[in-house]
């Protein structure tokens, strides 16, 4: 029977007992919350030792009011054993910074730029960290929960 990624989770816990802070695997959504300082090691291990050869998505969540405020979310897929795994890591508001996984997965390039563009989280070691969806003149990060709902920054036309 398929184990929906929980065997990979077990492997991860065995290997990184110090870095894995929380795991759960309800209804096949295997998830691990890891130490942000170890994200590169964890991802490298999952890629090289646990068959997770595809990074499906990189995104973030803003939990305004909590500390640490931001949460990075990585969705991994193992094409061989058909398993999925979600890795999360909390990022502090004062230093919104985490290691880039572009050296491990090239697909992270634009997804990390999007997270930088909309949340203002910086990726250490990213080869080309610029805005990707918005324009250079844009100030602030619109997907942060404290970005004013009515704030508009048009390039042409009135500030509607």
């Amino acid at each position: 029977m398929e184990d929906f990624g929980s065997s990979a989770l077990r492997k991860l816990i065995d290997e990184f007992s110090d870095a894995v802070q929380l795991t759960h695997a309800d209804h096949g959504d295997a998830t691990a919350l890891v130490d942000p300082a170890r994200i590169e090691d964890v991802m490298r291990f999952l890629r090289d030792e646990a068959d997770f050869d595809m990074l499906m998505d990189v995104t973030a969540v803003d939990y305004l009011g909590q500390t640490p405020r931001f949460e990075m979310v990585y969705h991994l897929y193992a094409t061989g054993p058909n398993q999925r795994l979600r890795i999360k890591a909390r990022v502090a508001e004062e230093t919104p910074e985490i290691a880039s996984v572009v050296p491990l997965y090239a697909s992270a390039d634009w997804m990390e730029r999007e997270v930088f563009d909309l949340y203002g989280i910086r990726f250490d070691g990213h080869p080309d960290l610029r805005r990707i969806l918005l324009y250079e003149e844009f100030e602030g990060y619109p997907l942060r929960k404290d970005y004013p709902k009515e704030r508009r920054q048009p390039l042409v036309g009135p500030r509607n």
Binding site: E137, R152, V156, G157
Partner: protein
């Protein structure tokens, strides 16, 4: 019976007194013309003729950015066939287009491009706001979306709907054609007073 009165085309604006006088003199000149060997002639006003040819030979520039594009493809395709209205040939160079069809959501990032395309079009030119997004921002009111393209370029005809049905687009096109027929030649310069002066574009190369 005064034939010029009976046969007045309905979409022409009322002629001035001087023009009426000229038309009244027409039959005598026509008789003279026929006597000298001409076999037929057509009397009209330059405005009516020029506008008639303009309204039935519109080249459109499809500025298609979002889901409304599907409905644009439908209305431009053979089933609804915009060619019947003389408005079928898309020109992908703004310099050869008369009708700027803005189809789909315009983001603030996209706005300078739309403005540039509009500025590159030669007079006479018309702008159609195709779909709710271009009329008002449609379902989107957020940091990214322009709240109606009339904040960037002057709009001649608004077609609501998310997306509008092809019938709505054709209705809008016919309304625009009726408007073109009533325009003055040369153009009244409405498009010349560009929105430029009011809202300057931030000069920046588009990456």
């Amino acid at each position: 019976m005064d034939r010029t009165q009976a046969r007045k085309p309905r979409h022409i604006v009322e002629p001035t007194e001087a023009q009426r006088q000229r038309v009244k003199e027409m039959p005598a000149r026509a008789v003279e013309y026929l006597r000298q060997g001409g076999d037929s002639f057509l009397a009209t006003r330059a405005d009516a003729l020029v506008n008639w040819s303009r309204k039935y030979s519109m080249f459109l520039y499809p500025f298609v950015t979002a889901c409304c594009g599907m409905e644009f493809m439908s209305v431009a395709g053979p089933r609804y066939d915009l060619d019947r209205f003389g408005c079928a040939l898309p020109r992908f160079s703004p310099r050869q287009a008369d009708l700027l069809m803005v189809v789909g959501t315009i983001t603030h990032r996209n706005a300078p491009i739309l403005k540039k395309v509009y500025d590159q079009m030669a007079e006479p030119k018309w702008v159609m706001a195709f779909g709710a997004c271009t009329c008002s921002g449609g379902p989107y009111n957020n940091y990214a979306t322009v709240q109606g393209i009339d904040t960037i370029v002057p709009v001649d005809i608004y077609i609501p709907g998310c997306p509008p049905r092809p019938e709505a687009v054709m209705e809008g096109l016919m309304k625009l054609q009726a408007r073109i027929q009533a325009e003055k030649v040369p153009a009244d310069g409405r498009h010349k007073e560009s929105v430029d002066s009011a809202y300057p574009v931030i000069e920046k190369p588009i990456a």
